[in-house]
Amino acid sequence: MAEYKIQLPVFEGPLDLLLYLIKKEEVDIYEVNLTRIATQFIEYLEEMKKTDLDVAGEFMVMAATLVWIKSKELLPVDQRSLEDLEEENAIDPRWELIQRLVEYKKFKEVSGKLQRWEVEQEDVFPHQIGKQNFPTQEEEFKLNVSLMDLLRALNSVLERMEERGMPKEIEGERWTVREKITFLKDTLRKCGRMMFSELFRSAATRLEVVVTFLALLELARLHEVQLEQAETFGEINILDISVASKNHF
């Protein structure tokens, strides 16, 4: 059997319902006629009961408060008991209720604003970059380089040179350590870093390799380059000191 139901607005609680009734009256909260509102409030509860038996206890408490206020206001002043008068000096229940209403109304308004912000935030997209997973210094270079490592690297370069069998007739130019230092510094300023094996790629003679190596040692001694090696017997990296300190950060 289909039941006829009146669609009643959903109220968050008794205060919400009161605000709605006051709004319907189109008066300021402070000037509202609570006696009339009380009647309407109770009528509403009756309506709610008809459609949905589950009227929360809070609504009943508010109804009782309203009736109490109403009954007090109906009594002429000279008929009120002394006790009541004293009580009234302390707290005026009507005033107290109105204050609660005003406060509740403000929070309700703010919650409306929160709701608007909530929706707005769905449209705000932050600048997003993937997490930058640059390998840290520790991961990339497990070891710093010992002198033995350097010598071993030098030997392998020299061995490679032997294998190549350099033409004997070409006369070795005169390489100076100073020239090589300048060359190294220039290269590093441009690239920031280079590999040890790369360093000798252009070297034509054994003497040039040795001079270049000496230049590297000198730069290392002056702390103008930093030498790093990721693993034992691995490739040695030459870093310009400015690059090296940046990487450490």
Binding site: F11, F107, F249
Partner: protein
């Protein structure tokens, strides 16, 4: 090198919003580690100064009139796109992962907690005039509020406050962004209990906000101003 530019580069390359303290630590770290004097210039820069520069940057982006802005949410700074481009971004990146929207009772409860924190459940109920048991459970679950401690009252009821996630969720830079913050925070239901807390909060605020520095622009200010008659939006009974 300008401090402002250093800050900008950090914000641009960061994969997460950065707080003033994050930025300060980086700048100090670089100064500490480096022997290059030019990198040490801002080594001991103060948070206030960084915040000022952030605001300058924020204004610059505003003036540039690009499609992104620098914003501060939950005290952390990041670049965001203007909301009017959301349809295209959304098509491209997919919907933002966000939980379902909050119900009106949850929003009301949250608003009360936000202004009156730390607050007990029964104080919230006094203001709302209804029980908030289930609602607070939801808010706790969504990490928008948390238990801040216990009130010095019979039964030692829990005190609730809002989390940084609350600010993030609504795009607020701090609690001061809430409308009428000073007025709505002022009077409390139980003055005896909250007076001490109020003083505490005020001193905290002083510490984190240097004098003469305006609160940051709220993300919601990215949106065109609407009339403030938000009553219509929220009421279920118009």
């Amino acid at each position: 090198m300008e401090l402002k530019s250093i800050i900008e580069s950090l914000l641009f390359s960061s994969s997460r919003p950065l707080s003033v303290e994050d930025i300060r630590q980086v700048i100090q770290g670089v100064g500490d580690k480096s022997e290059d004097l030019s990198l040490k210039v801002f080594q001991n820069v103060k948070g206030d100064k960084i915040e000022q520069e952030l605001r300058l940057l924020q204004d610059e982006y505003e003036e540039l009139n690009r499609t992104w802005r620098l914003t501060c949410v939950a005290q952390s700074w990041q670049f965001v796109c203007l909301p009017e481009y959301a349809p295209w971004i959304r098509f491209f990146t997919g919907e933002k992962a966000r939980p379902p929207r909050l119900t009106p009772p949850a929003l009301e409860t949250l608003a009360i907690i936000a202004y009156r924190q730390p607050i007990t459940r029964s104080e919230v109920e006094d203001i709302r005039g209804v029980s908030v048991d289930g609602v607070i459970g939801t808010l706790l679950e969504r990490k928008l509020v948390f238990q801040q401690g216990k009130a010095d009252l019979p039964g030692r009821p829990s005190l609730y406050g809002t989390t940084p996630e609350f600010l993030q969720y609504f795009g607020l830079s701090s609690l001061d962004d809430l409308p009428d913050a000073s007025e709505l925070r002022r009077y409390a239901i139980n003055p005896l209990q909250t007076v001490g807390k109020e003083v505490e909060r005020q001193t905290e605020e002083k510490e984190c906000r240097p004098e003469g520095v305006e609160p940051a622009v709220r993300q919601s200010e990215l949106f065109p101003k609407e009339d403030d008659n938000f009553e219509n939006l929220n009421s279920t009974h118009e």
